[in-house]
């Protein structure tokens, strides 16, 4: 029997790491605070750039960890250093002594209501990117009109915003906005779709193609300017104000619905773990790695490793790659390499 490894977080990072650690022969415990595995990704409908079905991806990942011990609806109560490893108590009463711990606690979606001027939770037709994905997954959402004629996407909601407490770019929202804009245009071909952006940060493989398609094939309008405020008109439309910085004039438009691209912020729910395990928080609020270039998965504490968005904003492929790397790093660590 090999050593125990505990993975905190059952999102894609946790799932991928669990699979690999299990294959490497470790007794792997995957603990997830929600009742379902898959994390944020499970809410999503389709993933760029392949427009792959999230359901299928998560199902495959979950099937791959059939033999892993999974604690759902469970949290880490205490974690303390003991006997060359960590003694961990879970909220379900189980205690495990783990040789290594993988923190894969991911991120939290920025609470869009904090950007008060956008009126999330106040205006009838303002939703977030996550709400839209849930709707595309079949969830009913009264905020989305039956046949919207004008749809807006606001980039950088809670990202690149000192006042919102997050000066960082959330990296995936530009691409998500364009993906969702295209998906909405496909569903509502007669709708005008506007993306309000500051910079289009389309860094990944094939991302720029989405941008080109959005312009050329879907006629999606890109307005360079951060939305300054949203208000509701008497007939329930949303009046959006921004500066069109490319011509240097204020701009307003009435929309039927507005999607806020809520960014990724650090997951504060792991604060207790951070304190007990004496982990460090970086200046961006995410967990601090040994360094951010070659040791992003290392915590600087023996036996504790990181994978995925707990150390900063990540795409799904980056997260999966980190999870595999972390599994290997744990294997090396336990093997004394």
């Amino acid at each position: 029997m090999k050593e125990n490894v505990v993975i905190i977080g059952g999102g894609v990072a946790g799932l991928e790491a669990a699979k690999n650690l299990h294959r490497l022969g470790y007794q792997t415990f995957l603990v997830e605070k929600n009742k379902k595995l898959g994390g944020h990704v499970a809410i999503w409908h389709k993933l760029f750039p392949d427009m792959a079905s999230t359901k299928a991806i998560i199902k495959e990942m979950v099937d791959d960890i059939k033999d892993v011990t999974v604690f759902l609806d469970t949290q880490v109560k205490t974690i303390e250093s003991a006997y060359g490893g960590y003694q961990i108590a879970f909220s379900n009463g189980v205690n495990v002594h783990a040789k290594a711990v993988l923190v894969a606690s991911g991120f939290e979606l920025f609470e869009a209501a904090k950007k008060e001027e956008y009126g999330y939770g106040i205006y009838d037709h303002v939703i977030t990117n996550a709400d839209l994905e849930a709707w595309m997954n079949g969830n009913k959402d009264q905020r989305i009109p039956a046949a919207p004629k004008a749809i807006g996407f606001v980039h950088c909601v809670g990202s690149r915003d000192l006042k919102a407490g997050n000066s960082q770019c959330s990296k995936v929202c530009c691409m998500t906005a364009i993906k969702q804009a295209i998906e909405m245009k496909e569903r509502f071909p007669n709708a005008e779709v506007y993306c309000f952006y500051m910079d289009l940060r389309l860094f990944g493989k094939k991302y720029e193609d989405f941008y080109i398609n959005a312009q050329r094939d879907f006629g999606i309008h890109f307005v360079r300017g951060r939305v300054s405020e949203v208000s509701e008109t008497i007939d329930g439309h949303l009046q959006v104000k921004a500066e069109d910085t490319l011509i240097g004039r204020p701009l307003k438009v009435q929309l039927d619905m507005l999607v806020l691209m809520a960014g990724m912020v650090a997951n504060n729910q792991i604060k207790p773990i951070v304190e007990q395990a004496k982990l460090e928080i970086d200046s961006d609020g995410f967990l601090k790695s040994s360094d951010n270039i070659t040791h992003i998965i290392e915590s600087g504490r023996d036996g504790i490793f990181y994978a995925g968005a707990c150390t900063g904003t990540k795409t799904v492929p980056e997260t999966v790659a980190e999870a595999r790397a972390a599994a290997l790093a744990i294997h090396d660590y336990i093997s004394g390499l």
Partner: protein, 356 residues
């Protein structure tokens, strides 16, 4: 519009307002244009509510308007502010209540700047000593006079003679609230309800039975813009901004506007008159405008004061339609009479907007 969402924000932006012992300073503009409003403030707070609201004859303007017209240096305005604080300190008060929003912003900005740059505060203390041989303590609490009325809104409601309810239909009156820009835009946490959905006036309206209207251009400036009004050449800017707001609120058919800023009620009132003269357009019912009030005037009406004691005769937009809706009794003939009922003649009537 989801009301609960706003409530959540309001709960995030509550400020501590001591219940008593306030040092009161007056507003230049309000004294000129709404003399009765300030008088009502002391009347309500001191006489009706029995609060300790102290005023000294030695206080002056804070210089805020001159400062925002860029005619005096920052050090000058800060030293004037320091003098005001010194008067407060000498009077033994530590809760400071300006009647003016520009002042309120000016004090808040001064305190904030001193906090950030203590060397500047030291410099100002030195200036004040040099000029006036005075010293001061910074106020412990800073609240605008509308904050106080907001704070005591329920007590006023308890004594209410009229509510903001249409007596004919029984429906709440539709009230547009307009907040002065310098109330919370610079420092959202210094205003009740924050910068985006300020609650200070909305709270009064709700408490007194009215319905608050949220229209697209609600947050926007009336267009005062200091130099944009005080230099005649620039008044088109001021007019245009008010026009934009009225165009935006028009479809909601508001019964009245309530404001907490010295300039705003003047501009929202007079620009309606100018728009009517220039374009023929009026925004109220039957050729009237939408009456504009200070919060003291509304509070005074709620408490049952005579409209002409509240100074409503100095409005260019007729207030009578609202008085009728509220069921306030008034003597139309007394509107333009002097203190001892002496005849002061009547002002000329405007051409394009109905007046009484």
């Amino acid at each position: 519009m989801i009301y609960e969402g706003k409530q959540k924000i309001w709960s995030d932006y509550q400020k501590e307002i001591p219940d008593d012992h306030w040092y009161y300073v007056r507003s230049c503009i309000r004294q000129n244009f709404f003399p009765a409003s300030e008088r009502m403030f002391t009347e309500i707070t001191q006489k009706v509510l029995g609060k300790d609201v102290y005023e000294t004859p030695y206080h002056t303007t804070c210089g805020g308007i001159a400062y925002h017209c860029d005619t005096i240096p920052q050090e000058t305005v800060m030293t004037i502010v320091a003098r005001q604080f010194a008067l407060m300190t000498e009077a033994g008060y530590e809760n400071y209540c300006p009647s003016c929003i520009t002042s309120f912003g000016n004090y808040a900005e001064t305190l904030e700047t001193w906090r950030e740059f203590p060397e500047l505060e030291a410099k100002i203390r030195e200036n004040l000593w040099k000029a006036c041989k005075r010293e001061f303590n910074k106020p412990k609490y800073l609240a605008h006079s509308s904050d106080l009325i907001y704070h005591w809104r329920e007590e006023i409601r308890k004594r209410a003679k009229h509510l903001l309810i249409n007596q004919e239909t029984g429906e709440p009156l539709r009230i547009v609230e307009h907040i002065g820009c310098h109330y919370s835009k610079m420092f959202p946490h210094k205003g009740v309800g924050g910068a985006e959905y300020p609650y200070v006036l909305a709270g009064m309206v709700e408490s007194w039975g009215g319905q608050v209207i949220d229209y697209p251009e609600r947050r926007h400036c009336c267009g005062y813009g200091f130099r944009q009004y005080h230099a005649k050449a620039n008044r088109g800017y001021s007019l245009s901004n008010t026009h934009k707001k009225f165009e935006s609120m028009e479809p909601y058919k508001p019964d009245a506007i309530i404001t907490n800023c010295p300039g705003c009620p003047y501009f929202l009132d007079r620009w309606q008159y100018v728009i009517a003269e220039q374009t023929g357009k009026t925004y109220g019912e039957n050729g009237y405008g939408i009456p504009v009030f200070t919060y003291e005037e509304i509070a005074g009406l709620v408490l049952g004061y005579d409209p002409w004691d509240l100074g409503l005769q100095l409005h260019q937009v007729a207030v009578e339609p609202l008085l009728k809706k509220m069921g306030v009794e008034y003597d139309p003939k007394a509107k333009y009479l002097g203190l001892n009922k002496e005849d002061l003649m009547r002002p000329e009537m405007p051409n394009s907007i109905k007046c009484c």
